[in-house]
Every structure is written in structure tokens, then in C-alpha cells.
């Protein structure tokens, strides 16, 4: 199973659990908007994720559930007991599908009708049949079995000649279907081309297009609201047609055309048909009955399992004649033409010679796919029993072989898994313990100092320091090892994007090249997981709203293919993810007015708000500019979810956009409980920490070497002008920086972004490893500090956030 699918399955289990518990909560507190919103988001995300795979039934049910929840959320539909029941039923169905996928890699096709039924039930609760789709579903469903239904009005358009031809084919045993496809009004916005779909109907022999309503005057015609119905005549199998329309089963009606429609009288149509069928069967190639097809499929499967058994060539060759005989007998009893039997013989002979039955297997697969595919899923017992017996036999053989060869074969049989699955709480406990160890370890140097200063035992102090360095090394390594366990590369999240981008861009008819950078950047598991959902929302938004279609791009002189770049990098103690597109950018004017219309901002703000702040309004709750609700984006939850998910893990989000040029969204996330190396500095009697990643060097600058150029203090450092700032003034401490007895300033040269500058402090101290804890509560508003850390002597060290204060 591909890792993406495995991830989806494990996530969906969690989602389904959360949905169930939220539903229960909602039942206790009906109408609680927070619970409702959360519930909606779960279903929304689950639906979005399911869209990555080819599981249309699952997506369809989830989409219907989402629509219903949206209706309840907005108050259009009242929340009743039936609501919870229906949603739970739908989620059980989805859960059943995921379990089946987990076991077999796919789910049985028999779920299709159930999916239609559930989706219909959910939509019925919304009440207003908002789309023609629902009408179609109500008026017969995706697979009406009515053989002698009313002749449709459009039937009159079918040419007489064609009717005669079809009658002949029907009498020869073929089946002809009348397929009515009523696409959704908004389907063009999802990138659908229903006409193309209708033309591609398997076995299509004739088609007709009808408008659902009289044409309005051309001046008011809306070309993008689909009002066309597609009627198709197709000679094929019902399953094949249903499979062709599997994404829109509730919008099609497939009806078998009775012979009477084709102009046959009752007697004429039935009697000769039976006679002819028998004759045709004797002749050759006649569609087999369902029961026969199922049995054949079972036999074929069994033979394939036998051929694919992991055995040595000699045994394989011995099995071949038996398989060959079974196939030939199948051939004989189903009246297959002579040529088929010859093909079987030829393949068997070839396999016997080469000892490799691959060609025979391929032929069997092809033959099965083209000439008979099982109508129902083949019941497993036979297959299982077979595999079991053969495998037991196998093991016996292997054992005897092993004995014979003095046990040398055994090693291959039992390969132990190299990786270990550990409960995350155990790792968390380790993490906390090492955190405590690091802090208490830092107390030892103080102890050494005391031994020296207070008790004047220099010898002991030196020994303590020696021991400290040993403990320090071990603790550091241990910490590193524990962090490594929790670290995951961002590629875990990134790997789903190529497929996502490909699918969405194809759906939207856009050309997008995706560039992924810094996939190897690592961050804590919690952070990576927190990143997954917001990133998907952002990428969807970029594709849906950001990038233009190739035509529009060309018209603007841009390359037809848009570029979407997702870049990850570690910056000091943060992971920064940038999502950049070269699309149309965000127009602050439109955003402002939309926000005003939606009541997100008032009139006063509308006038005052800066462009930069305006584009950030897209993160406001309930803000969405899209008029059309698609399964991509545009529910007004996306960016809101993104912001809250990022903020939950103490991340920040920033948006830059230029109209016509593109948009860049940066998410900066902490590395979690990463150990930071900080340098301790002193200013006005207080100590502060500066992350070592920022520190370039420490220098002492004579007062005479400081120049003032345009109000800014500067100094020349190895031929380079470095601006100087005093930490006291940056923190608004009313004190002058102290100088050393030699009249020198202590200057900490730091790099912030791309700038290098000197910070004048009073004194440098040592560097220490600290576990930086983010500021919480009221303190979280203090932008000047990135966090605090507990020192070995029990005091608290404030770590400066240089980016903010400079």
C-alpha cells in the first residue's frame, strides 16, 4: 500500500472517532456553534483528503454530509435527532469503506448503490433540492431497473434506421441502454465537461441534447450554468456504463431499452430471441450468465493463485499441466471458440519450457477482463481455503528442506522487523526527563564555583568540573537521541502534494509545476502533524484562487505554466515554510469590500485599513470570496482553519502579495521543545539570553572607535561598517551602557535576517543549553522575548527575540 494511502487511512480513523464524539457532544448541547464548526471542519478535511484517491463513493457521501452540516450550521435546517443518526450512519459507511480499503486496497463495487442511497438520504434532510442532481436521484436513482418504463419523450428523435439496427442487435442477445445524464448546474466550475463524458459512454451509438428550460433572451444567458441534459443510447453492459458514470451516479439514469421501443411486437421480440440465443451460444462468443461468470472467475482466480505460489521452478512446471487441463475444460463447457483453446495450449507449452508462467498469467488476466468479469465480488472462502491448504503444504516442504540442508534455509523465513512502534506518551516521558536532567546538570558548574569561592577547595572544584563535562556530554547525546526519535522530515507532509497538485490542477484546467524545497528539514513530530492540514488548505487555495488558467496567463505575458513553490527551511529555532505562487495575487480592495459586506470589518476600518492588513483579512473567520462551493475550497473555513491550526502550536503566519505577480505565505513554527544554545549577556544588572544562532561574534570596541553618522552609531569592524544599538535603549531601560575599565564597549555582533549589527551590552557571560519554553498567558503578548528558560541555579532567563526588538 502506498504510504500516502496508509496515512490517509490512519488519519481517517482518527477523524471518524472525533466526528462521532463531536456528534455526541452536539446532541448534549444542541446548536453549540463551536462544536458545530469543529464537526464541520473534520468532515470538510476528511472529504478533502478522500478526494486525493479514487474513492468517489466515499467522497460523495462525505460531500453530502458536509452540505447537510453546512445547512444546519447556518440555521437553514434544524438540528434534529435524525440529523445525528444520518450523519453517524454515513460515517459508519465511510468507516466500513476505509476498513475494506485497508484489508484489500479497494472496496467492493457493491457499495456504489448504498453510497447513492446514503447521500440521497442526507440531501433529503436539507430539504430544498438545490440541484437537478437530487431530482434525478429522487425520480429513479442511479440504476433504475425498470425494464419496461415509459418511453421517454426524446425517444422520438431516435432515427428509424438505427432502431431497426438496434433491434437486430438486441435480438442477438446484446443489451441496449437508455442513459439520461443530468449534470449539476455548477458542474462547469468543477472543471467537468459533461458533453465529453456523455460522448465517451461505452458503446454509445446515438446521443441527443436537451435543454432543461426554455432559452432566455440571449442578453441574459448565463453560459456557465449548465442547463443541458444528455440522452444517450448505448449498447454495452450496465456495469460498464455505471462504472463510466461512477463519479456522478446520482445524476444519471440507466434504463434498459425494451425491444418494444425498438419497434418489435411482443411475440416477435421474445420467441425468436430465445431460439437465436441458443443458436448463438453454440456458435461462439455469447455473453455468459451471471452465475457462470462468477464461477469462472473463481476458477480463474484459483488457478492464478496456484501459478503464483512461491515455489521452485520444478514444482511450478509440474503444476502446469493441471492448470492447463482446468482451463481447457472451462473452455469446453462454456463453448469458447477453438482459437481460445489453442491459445491456452500455446501459453502452457511456452511456460513449461521456460519455467515461467508470467505470459500465461497475463493472458488469463486479459481474457478474464475482456470476456467475463465477475458480477459480484467472488466469495472468499474457496480462495482462502485454497491458499491455506497450499501454504501448509508449503511450510511442510520448507521444513523438510531446511532439515535436509542443515538449517541453512531457515534464516530467510523469519525476518524480524527492524523498526519498533512505541507509544508516544512513553517518548514524551523520556523527553520530560531529559529536560529535567539538562536543567539540573546546569546546576553543577554553580556548585563548582561555590566550592571554589565559598569553601576555597580548588581541587574539588576542578574535579566537579571534570565530572560535569562527562555528564554534560552524555546528557547532550541523550537529548539529541531523544529529539531524533521525535524528529520527522517535512517530506512526510510534502509527499502528498505532487498528487494533490496534479489532481486539482487537472480538475481546474490549470497548468502548474510544483517545486518542493528543503524536504529534508526536520521538525518535531507534533509540529509536522500540526502542519499537515493547514498546508493542504493553503495549497488548495493557491491553486483554486491564486493561479490563473493558461489562457489568462499567456494573455498577461506570463508563462502558461504557473509555479507553486513550497519551501521548508530551519531558521534559528523555527521551521519556516513558504508557499509561493506566481498567480494573480490578492487584491486588497476586493478583500476589503468583501470583508465589509460580510460584516467582518466596519465602515471605519474599511477606510483606514492598510493594504497589508487588508489581505490578512482572509484569515478572519467566516471570510470567503468564492461564490461557488466546490469540493476544492471556498467554504470560508479554509484560511480560518489554517490560522487557528498554526496559532495552536505557537506558530505565526504572514502573507505577502502583489497583484498580478503572486502571493507568498510564510508559516513559521517553533521546533517545539528543542534545546537552544543561548549566550547570556548582562545589561543594567539583569541577564538575558540571546540564541547562539544569531550571534556572529563578541568584540570590545573602544569608545573612540564609535562614530555617529546621521544619528546612528557606527563602528568599523574589519573594514565593514556595523551599526550599533544599545540593548538598554532597545528594551527602554533608562540606563547608559557601561564600559570596561579600558573604556571599551562590549558589543555583541548579531545577524538578524540578512543584516549584521552590533548590540551594546554591559557584559558577556557564558553560553548555556536551555530548554526554551514559550511565553504563556499575559506574557505571551510580550513580543520582545521569544521565551523563557530555567537556569541551573533556579533563576529564570528571558531569551530575547532579536527580530522583534531590532
Amino acid at each position: 500500500m502506498n504510504p500516502l494511502l496508509a496515512q490517509f487511512l490512519s488519519e481517517s480513523v482518527e477523524f471518524l472517532e472525533s466526528i462521532a464524539s463531536k456528534l455526541m457532544q452536539l446532541e448534549k448541547h444542541p446548536g453549540d456553534p463551536d462544536v458545530m464548526n469543529e464537526l464541520f471542519r473534520f468532515v470538510h478535511t476528511l472529504k478533502g483528503n478522500s478526494g486525493l484517491f479514487d474513492f468517489p463513493e466515499m467522497t460523495k457521501v462525505l460531500h453530502a454530509a458536509e452540505d447537510l452540516m453546512d445547512a444546519v450550521r447556518t440555521g437553514a435546517v434544524e438540528q434534529s435527532e435524525g440529523f445525528t443518526d444520518n450523519i453517524l450512519d454515513a460515517m459508519d459507511f465511510v468507516g466500513g469503506l476505509t476498513r475494506e480499503i485497508e484489508a484489500n486496497g479497494h472496496y467492493a463495487e457493491t457499495h456504489r448503490e448504498e453510497a447513492v442511497r446514503i447521500a440521497k438520504g442526507l440531501r433529503a434532510m436539507i430539504g430544498t433540492p438545490e440541484t437537478v442532481a437530487t431530482n434525478a436521484a429522487q425520480s429513479g436513482g442511479g440504476s433504475s431497473k425498470g425494464l419496461a418504463g415509459e418511453m421517454p419523450a426524446t425517444w422520438q428523435h431516435v432515427p428509424q434506421g438505427l432502431k431497426r439496427e438496434l433491434l437486430a442487435r438486441v435480438q442477438e442477445g446484446e443489451t441496449c441502454f437508455w442513459v439520461v445524464y443530468k449534470p449539476e448546474e455548477g458542474c462547469f466550475f468543477q472543471g467537468d465537461d459533461p458533453f465529453f463524458v456523455a460522448r465517451q459512454t461505452p458503446g454509445q451509438v446515438w446521443g441527443h441534447i436537451e435543454s432543461r428550460e426554455p432559452w432566455p433572451p440571449i442578453s441574459t444567458l448565463d453560459p456557465y450554468r449548465c442547463v443541458l441534459d444528455f440522452h444517450t443510447l448505448a449498447v454495452s453492459f450496465r456495469e460498464e456504463i455505471a462504472d463510466h458514470f461512477r463519479y456522478v451516479p446520482d445524476q444519471v439514469d440507466i434504463q434498459e431499452v425494451p425491444a418494444s421501443w425498438l419497434g418489435a411486437t411482443e411475440e416477435r421480440s421474445t420467441t425468436p430471441r430465445v431460439a437465436e440465443t441458443t443458436a448463438a451460444k453454440a456458435a461462439a462468443h455469447e455473453p455468459l450468465s451471471e452465475a457462470v461468470r462468477n464461477t469462472l472467475a473463481q476458477i480463474f482466480r484459483a488457478q492464478r493463485i496456484i501459478l503464483q505460489l512461491n515455489e521452485d521452478t520444478a514444482t511450478k512446471v509440474k503444476r502446469l499441466p493441471a492448470v492447463c487441463a482446468v482451463l481447457l475444460n472451462c473452455c469446453k463447457s462454456t463453448d469458447q471458440p477453438e482459437s481460445v483453446a489453442r491459445q491456452i495450449l500455446a501459453h502452457c507449452e511456452a511456460a513449461e519450457e521456460s519455467g515461467d508462467p508470467a505470459a500465461l498469467l497475463a493472458w488469463m488476466e486479459d481474457f478474464q477482463a475482456s470476456d467475463f468479469s465477475p458480477v459480484q465480488t467472488v466469495e472468499a472462502p474457496l480462495e482462502l481455503a485454497l491458499v491455506e491448504t497450499v501454504e501448509t503444504a508449503d511450510v511442510g516442504e520448507v521444513r523438510s528442506a531446511a532439515r535436509a540442508e542443515d538449517g541453512s534455509v531457515i534464516s530467510g523465513a523469519s525476518t524480524t522487523a527492524k523498526s519498533l512502534k512505541v507509544d508516544q506518551t512513553k517518548i514524551d516521558r523520556l523527553m520530560n526527563l531529559i529536560g529535567e536532567l539538562v536543567v539540573s546538570k546546569n546546576a553543577i558548574p554553580y556548585l563548582a564555583q561555590r566550592a571554589e569561592n565559598q569553601y576555597a577547595v580548588r581541587e574539588l572544584a576542578r574535579e566537579i568540573k571534570g565530572q560535569y563535562s562527562v555528564i554534560n556530554r552524555i546528557a547532550e547525546e541523550m537529548q539529541d537521541a531523544i529529539m531524533q526519535i521525535r524528529m520527522m522530515p517535512v517530506s512526510v507532509v510534502f509527499q502528498r502534494f505532487p498528487r494533490l497538485v496534479r489532481d486539482i490542477s487537472r480538475k481546474l484546467g490549470k497548468e502548474v509545476s510544483l517545486v518542493l524545497e528543503g524536504e529534508e528539514t526536520e521538525a518535531d513530530k507534533n509540529i509536522i502533524e500540526a502542519l499537515a492540514d493547514p498546508l493542504i488548505h493553503i495549497v488548495r487555495n493557491s491553486l483554486d484562487h491564486g493561479l490563473e488558467t493558461p489562457e489568462v496567463r499567456k494573455a498577461q505575458g506570463k508563462p502558461a505554466t504557473g509555479t507553486l513553490t513550497i519551501r521548508a527551511a530551519q531558521e534559528a529555532d523555527r521551521v519556516v515554510i513558504q508557499i509561493t505562487d506566481d498567480g494573480k495575487g490578492i487584491n486588497p480592495e476586493i478583500i476589503k469590500h468583501k470583508a465589509y459586506e460580510k460584516g467582518v470589518i466596519d465602515e471605519e476600518t474599511l477606510d483606514r485599513i492598510s493594504d497589508h492588513d487588508a489581505i490578512h483579512l482572509i484569515f478572519a473567520a467566516g471570510f470567503s470570496t468564492a461564490e461557488v462551493v466546490s469540493d476544492l475550497s471556498g467554504r470560508g473555513v479554509g484560511m480560518d482553519v489554517v490560522r487557528s491550526a498554526v496559532e495552536k502550536v505557537n506558530g505565526t503566519i504572514d502573507l505577502q502579495s502583489e497583484v498580478g505577480k503572486g502571493t507568498r505565505l510564510s508559516i513559521s513554527l517553533p521546533l517545539s521543545m528543542a534545546v537552544t544554545q543561548v549566550m547570556i549577556i548582562e545589561s543594567d544588572g539583569q541577564i538575558f539570553g540571546v540564541p547562539m544562532d544569531h550571534v556572529v561574534e563578541t568584540v570590545r570596541v573602544p569608545r573612540s572607535a564609535v562614530r555617529v553618522i546621521k544619528d546612528t552609531r557606527m563602528t568599523l569592524l574589519r573594514g565593514r561598517l556595523v551599526p550599533l544599538k544599545s540593548l538598554n535603549s532597545l528594551l527602554q531601560i533608562p540606563a547608559q551602557p557601561r564600559t570596561s575599565p579600558d573604556d571599551e564597549y562590549a558589543v555583541l555582533v548579531v545577524r538578524v535576517g540578512s543584516d549584521v549589527l552590533g548590540v551594546i551590552v554591559d557584559e558577556f557571560r557564558e553560553t548555556v543549553d536551555v530548554i526554551q519554553k514559550p511565553m504563556t498567558g499575559v506574557l505571551s503578548g510580550l513580543q520582545a522575548y521569544s521565551g523563557s528558560a530555567l537556569m541551573g541555579d533556579g533563576s529564570v532567563l528571558m531569551v530575547l527575540n532579536l527580530k522583534e526588538i531590532i
Binding site: 458533453f195 465529453f196 454509445q204 436537451e210 432559452w215
Partner: protein, 78 residues
């Protein structure tokens, strides 16, 4: 260009995509009795088809593609 606009005639060549529908509609709105040539058309997005049907445009030539022709003759003959 899949759609070529002449004075009073429009030629749809090969595949007309969804984006063509709007300009096509605008063009038709300004003409009194426009005619459409479809002989080299192989497929057109239904948005375009809707526009042609809604405008009750006269077809000067039918597609060479017999299958498409059958579909369109039902929809555009009036």
C-alpha cells in the same frame, strides 16, 4: 485559436474550451443573424453549446466528425 470570428460568421475549429464561451456569447449578442461553421470542430465544451443553442444560431456547416454531427444536429437544428 479554436474560434475564428469573421464579420457575420464564426468558425469553430477542433476543440472549443470552456473559456471560449464568454467571448462567443458576447460576439453572438452583437450579431443579428450570425452563422456558425463547425466542419473542423471535433468537440466543444457544453458551455459553448449552450451559447449556440440559446442564441438559436444557424449552422452553415456541420462537423465532419459523424458522431459529433449526430449529437449537434439534434441540438442545433431549428
Amino acid at each position: 485559436m479554436p474560434i475564428e470570428y469573421k464579420k457575420n460568421h464564426v468558425h469553430i475549429v477542433e476543440v472549443a474550451t470552456v473559456e471560449e464561451a464568454e467571448p462567443l456569447l458576447a460576439w453572438l449578442q452583437e450579431r443579428k443573424s450570425p452563422k456558425v461553421h463547425l466542419e473542423f470542430c471535433t468537440h466543444l465544451h457544453p458551455a459553448n453549446l449552450q451559447v449556440l443553442m440559446g442564441a438559436k444560431v444557424r449552422v452553415a456547416s456541420w462537423p465532419e466528425d459523424q458522431n459529433l454531427r449526430a449529437w449537434l444536429q439534434g441540438a442545433l437544428s431549428n
